[in-house]
Amino acid sequence: MHHFENDISIVFGGAAGQGVQTIAEALVRVLKRNGYYVFACTEFMSRIRGGSNSTEVRVTARKRGAYVSKIDFLVALNADAIDHLQDRIGETTLVFAEKKHLEGKDISGFIDTPIAEFAEKAGSKIFSNTVAVGIVLGLLGISIDAFSVYLSEQFATKGEDVVAKNITAAKLGYTFGKETAAEKRIEVTIDPVEEQPGELLIDGNTAVGIGTVAAGCSFISSYPMSPGTGLLTYLAHNAEDFNIVVDQAEDEIAAINAALGASYAGARSIVTTSGGGFALMEEGVSLAGVTEVPVVVHLGQRPGPATGLPTRTEQADLNLTLYAGHGEFSRVILAPGTFAQAIELMQRAFHLAEKYQTAVFVLTDQFFLDSIAAVDESDIVRLPLERYIVRTDEKYKRYSLTGDGLSPRGVPGYGDGIVKVDSHEHNESGHLTENFELRRKMVEKRLKRLEYLAEEALMPELFGAAEAKNVVVAWGSNRGVLEEVIDNFQRKDLSGLHFSQLFPLNMAVKKQLEGKHIIVLENNATGQFADLLIREFGVPVSKRILKVTGEPFSVEEVVEVLQEV
């Protein structure tokens, strides 16, 4: 008897090219259509074929957005997958794989599953993925109808034959799953979900992309780099519908400079990259600072230094953005924790960039970008597209000293004025100057907006009781694990604070932290956000929960560490 309740973790493992991600995508869509809460996340090697990748699909009674290390059902498409996931195969894990892949391994939960055989029966080995989804649906005891519909949609363009064969494959798997469940007394129960799990099923890349489109972005120039490339590809796919210029740059330096040129000319522009590419953009960031040309940078983090682990996850580029560029100037750093938040924050990023004529960095990471979850359409916030561009007259000066540090921003070709922006220290009209007093004023002008930005800064989201003595702080993609862990504990003395704005920090946060036992959870080696809290608020940080293996935190490991608190 194998009983699984309310929180099921299904993992598909196989080589690159075997399509474990495709399987997961199909499954989550079908599960969602059946009214379940789903969450999927994926880990893969830096290679195009071969190696060992896996995708986890969680089916839960409550909305979840975190990785768990436990595996209830493992569908292994090759032998390596079993080795690769060995540490996560527990006593209760059921492993579905062809017998030949088990060779030499001793796994109690092994169930001989003739995936390839079914696929070939349906017409070809390439239907293995469809078989796998069918098996899982059978195991879960979920009707296969939604999957059949999905397959019809998906392969509509490939012709009826392909659709039919896929459906055959699905059914073969399904029957096997159902029969196995009955035979091995595998029981899966999930409480009915309170509300609909959300209408849209998207991954992190899509969330960031939707937000960017919604923000009125009309220009991207970027150089491919995992995991930043997703946004570039997303915008390419939507370029025509939304009049977005999508340029593949020759290098990252070109990208950021092109984005600044575009912004200078009136576009809302963005670049997307990862740490190494961003490192190359730092001089450009400094240029944004001195010229006060707005720009948004999406930085999909991955483990460094240098090439590091190109397809893995980490949160070690906070300091990189916080101190990017030589000289001193303003900036904003945002880090969404949910997909709905990503959609909103991308708009906010462009809004703040334009309103405060500054660079805004949005930090995500591989884990976040490659995860899949449902989003309610009603949760998709659309901020009004407020432009802050003025029509210039003949007396126009780009850097007029207005007292509040913000000069009305003109763009070339709109009005009679001349718009001069300058990377040198400059006077009000944008011409280079070496006047000491003007220099001082311009430095102050460029920094002053940080005050407004701090006032407008998003407050962190609280989980649990505000009075709790122990507060676990997390940021960006760790929102899911934070929420779930706090939820699990249900302790009065333990709360969670999730930051989606990292800089500048709202001064009101200080009160939320003072006198507390602060525990900071982040996916890096040194505790960069913890350091920032110390620097900004002078509060001591009691504990840092850190991880640098290239994997996201699992719910279990955080629970274990917090048990001791």
Binding site: E250, A259, G261, Y264, A267, V411, K420
Partner: protein, 283 residues
């Protein structure tokens, strides 16, 4: 007297007396005036260096950016408002040294941008080190035994990349310089104009005199559309040919290939219907 609308009241200019940059500036401003461009639609993008200061002295829009990075900025401007006339202007170090990669790839894109290079065969602003176009053997504060690196040949490289408009001028001849700049701006596509410009302080070899003696004018019957011939001209020694060395009309613009409209980006909006449709794809 007719006033040139591109003239500017500048109290002090950053160049040394006698510098070739003054002549280039004059030729440029005259060209702009002759072409009757509206200064409200003209953007001059530059990098950093002496030549790169040019837009500081022109009454038109300016983006005086980073050393080496004029070209990507210029592209960003052009693609966000193609109604603007865009000139990218900088020194030989800026365009061919720090900015060499952008030079290659800007040519491959072929935006309608005019690239003007102040080629003084030296780093002026940083006090006289060798530039990519410095001649072999020239002694400098850093190249104590003379320049060792083969000079960069911008004309040959541009032709190798099939740049559609490649020209060379010598500021010593202000008229030709102006006329070439005019043609370059009028040309639809990326035009490269390498302009010999003496640095009277740090380059004592490549003087006004030297440029005069070491250049000649392409004859009237020279056919700039022949790429092989153009390449021969580009690598010719010892004298450098002046004029339009290579020209290929009709190459499609990047902005056209991208389907960019004439609506400037500052008027960009997000169509609700399209947005709703996009979301629908994920349900």
């Amino acid at each position: 007297m007719i006033v040139n609308p591109f003239d500017m009241q500048v109290k002090t200019m950053g160049w040394c007396p006698g510098c070739g940059n003054y002549k280039l500036l004059d030729a440029l401003k005259e060209a702009l005036h002759h072409l009757a461009l509206d200064r409200r639609n003209l953007v001059i993008v530059s990098g950093i260096g002496q030549g790169a200061k040019t837009p500081q002295y022109v009454n038109a829009h300016m983006f005086n950016g980073l050393h080496g990075r004029a070209l990507p900025v210029a592209m960003g401007v052009k693609l966000s408002n193609r109604n603007l006339v865009v000139i990218a202007e900088s020194g030989d170090g800026c365009m061919y040294g720090e900015g060499g990669n952008h030079f290659l790839h800007a040519i491959r894109r072929n935006c309608d941008i005019t690239v003007i290079v102040h080629d003084n065969m030296v780093y002026g602003l940083t006090k006289g080190q060798a530039s990519p176009t410095s001649r072999l053997g020239m002694k400098t504060s850093l190249q104590l035994n003379g320049v060792l690196l083969e000079p960069f040949n911008p004309i040959a490289v541009a032709i190798a990349l099939d740049a559609p408009f490649v020209a060379r001028a010598n500021v010593g001849d202000g008229n030709q310089t102006r006329e070439i700049i005019k043609q370059a701006i009028a040309f639809k596509g990326l035009s490269v104009v390498d302009i010999f410009q003496p640095c009277v302080i740090f380059n004592k070899e490549n003087t006004y005199q030297w440029f005069k003696e070491n250049t000649y004018y392409l004859s009237d019957d020279y056919d700039p559309s022949d790429r092989r011939l153009a390449f021969e001209k580009a690598i010719e020694t010892p004298k450098f040919p002046l004029g339009i060395i290579y020209r290929r009309d009709g190459r499609e613009l990047y902005e056209d290939m991208l389907g960019i409209t004439h609506t400037p980006a500052y008027e960009h909006t997000v169509a609700d219907a399209a947005f709703a449709k996009m979301l629908k794809d994920y349900t």
